[in-house]
Amino acid sequence: METTVIRTGTEGKTWGGGNQPLKVSYGKLMMWFFILSDALTFSGFLASYGFARYKFSDSWPIADEVFNHFPFLHGVDAPMYYVALMTFILIFSSVTMVLAVDAGHQMKKGKVTFYMLLTIIGGIIFLGSQAWEWKNFIQGTYGAIETRGGNILQFVNDDGERVALADFVTAAPAERVLHERTNGLWFVDEPTLPRYTMEDVLAGFEANPNLHVRTQELTETGEKVILTRQASMAKLQNEGIGIIEGANLQKNEYGHPLFGDFFFFITGFHGFHVLTGVLINIIIFFNVLIGTYERRGHYEMVEKVGLYWHFVDLVWVFVFTFFYLV
């Protein structure tokens, strides 16, 4: 065998092989490069969100008005408090994770177990919060009118406060029945019928002289344009085609469809990362519990999953800034 060894003249030098120039194990290095590629995926998402923001820079929805819910505070305008709370939860679970890694360095099994458990609980609370956020976004609060051009019109009173459709529209008795498989053709059905027709909205709008239409357009100072009474009426009659309540991937009551799409994709992709993070954390937690790493002599596995968990936190910091603050 010795004859097959090729001497390159680089023995003992950096490129001679057999050394670890980066001084980390294979697993940790690959986790770093996975994180790098994942970071680029998220950057792609956020940068394309920026593209849409710039393209519609005079008509993008105002995040403060969309995300203003807080548990047990119904009808109270609480912009961003909830997202800020979610951010704290995730940062704190990052802290417990790094404490677990630190305890692992000192081979303290009990401490690692305890901090891993706290991290998992933090992750689950965050996921629950995100589900609640999605529920609010999908259900919507006020409802809006869709125009022929694919824009939306919202309603405000004389003081500029938002008014929900349900506050001034009453549904007229309708002839039209929802077509289900049980009452019509057995092989087709249709989506749920809207609660109000355009005629209901127009009647309600006429009956309430303090109402105005608010368009998507932003003024120089960054507020939405509110139309006069006459202009509102004309706009509704000429352009309105139906109502939108809540949000899906096709349309939403907040503004451009892209706003809803980016919300679902960016927070959804991040939430999926949190979910896998929690699952991996649970696996490692049980491995710690049964003493796998104690026998192995080191807790490097906790370090690796820790890297992933911190990365999830890191991404949320950017999502928080670009989706909710900027």
Binding site: L22, Y54, M80, A84, V98, D102, G306, H310, V317, T321
Partner: protein, 120 residues
Amino acid sequence: MAHDTTHAHESSTKRIWTVFIILSVITLVEVILGIIKPDFLVHTYFISLKLINWIFIVLTIWKAYYITWAFMHMEGETKGLRRSVVWTAGFLIVYLIFILLTEGDYVYEVMQREQIAWDF
């Protein structure tokens, strides 16, 4: 380098809690600025971006620095590893943002200029 990862066994709990406090304070500042939105910061532009948004972006990168360096322990890794991760991400992301935002702004201009009604 502060110390090598392979034989750092002394506890760094104190540093972890310090970083946690720094991150919390930065987040609080962001939230408070986002809620009160001072007129001066909202209406002053610097390189065609509101001053308040510059502040948010700088604070975010500052937070990202602490998470990567302290929590992910990048400060203890070798220069080679640090650069291969941070520089790669840095260059590609800056390039991506530059291209997409320039293009987005161009599309906005076109939509203002052209003889097509977008709101009908």
